[in-house]
Amino acid sequence: MRSIFAAALVFCFFVHPHWAYASEFDNCAQCHLDAEQAFAQSAMAQAALTKSFLKEWTEKGHDQACLGCHAPSGGQGIQCRDCHGLADHPVDKLNVPGVCARCHSAPGETTVHMYLSSRSFKAGQNCLDCHTGKDGENVHHFMGPSIEGFLTDVAQIRASILVEQGRAKALIRISHRAGHSLPGGTTGRSVWLVVEGRNAQGQGVWSKRVRFGWVHDGQGNWRDETLRPDIQTQFWLENIGRSGTVRLHVALLYQFAAGDFNVVPNSDRRLLDQVAVEIPHQFEK
């Protein structure tokens, strides 16, 4: 039995050198325990293990191409070598955002592409400035929207009503301070603008929803309808005083899971901002 095990070891280390090298790199924690432990808590470390990924991956017949980003070296997700490479020590400082772009710039994912056109890039900020927690030299506490509090104050909505020639219309403006499009990240994420007309009793009498995110046209093409960085998105709504509406309630929500607003449970959404504006009495109908 021992001889079989020894033979297997010999095969691993000499017949298949890559395995030996990979094995060496799997032991980063021996010297970089803090970094390894911090990264293990991140969503990237479990990129191939999430419910949404497993669902879509199964639907696509376990396409190995998906693992090119979700688990390039196998396992549950991204590993040290996937970003740091297999070069000798000391490894070169990572090229950020180039190393991120390998996966974060793809159809349904132009996060880095949009970042390069943003004020954040021009101001010298990079991905790590916002997406890693500060812990001395350890910059492996990767954070994203699924972390509680990460989305706080990231987006703002403003609502106003303009009355012209006896007709009232609402102007809703959305702005955000992400250094890339919102939502960034994967295809399924979306941001929803929900406008509700409420009557004097506070009950909703009509509503309108607008989705921001990536749209797949069913023919292999993706259309970008995300909220661009540094640009205000404006919406005009007409006929806002119908059905006894006295107040507009406007909310902006971040949805993690793919799917329609009515299908995805509320637990998969975070409120980004909400605001209300009163409609003058003379325009209530």
């Binding site: 998906c66 009355v163 702005s175 970008d224 504006v277």
Partner: protein, 160 residues
């Protein structure tokens, strides 16, 4: 005596108008500072164009909203924040004073105004946009990118 009362009342009203309703005079700012202000803000700055709509359509500041000349027709959400007023050089002082009162009532602060009006803004090299040039109908943005990493296992090229 009657004349004296009339003179005093008139003088008082004029001074009050200058000091309060026309407070915009002291809030007018250096054009270069305003250009930097517009460039720096993305979300919390309201840029309101109170000129006639025909003037607005010929060109205004980026992100400017054309609002009715009567400030009663503008109702805000009460969150306040900075605001920049674009007025014509011939705007009536009373109209301007009404706008200041209206905006202050909704909590807007500070209220900026372009010294010399829109013409001065253009002359100073401030950014100008025609609203029709930047209007995008939702869902029509022609931004379709080819298949890439997910479908063909080929990374999209960021630095091409």
């Amino acid at each position: 005596m009657k004349w004296l009362v009339i003179v005093i009342v008139t003088a008082t009203m004029t001074l009050y108008g200058v000091a309060s309703g026309f407070a915009g005079q002291e809030k007018r700012q250096d054009l270069q500072a305003l250009i930097e202000l517009v460039a720096a803000h993305t979300g919390d700055l309201y840029v309101l164009d109170i000129r006639p709509k025909s003037d607005y359509l010929r060109g205004s500041l980026p992100g400017a909203i054309s609002v009715p000349s009567d400030p009663v027709g503008f109702i805000a959400d009460g969150r306040g924040g900075p605001v920049l007023l674009i007025a014509g050089a011939d705007v009536a002082p009373a109209s301007l004073a009404n706008w200041y009162r209206r905006l202050e009532g909704f909590g807007f602060s500070p209220i900026h105004q372009i010294e010399g009006g829109f013409k001065a803004w253009v002359a100073a090299g401030g950014p100008v946009q025609k609203p029709a040039d930047v209007y995008v109908k939702p869902g029509t943005l022609p931004f379709i990118i080819p298949r890439g990493i997910c479908e063909l296992n080929t990374p999209a090229l960021v630095y091409d």
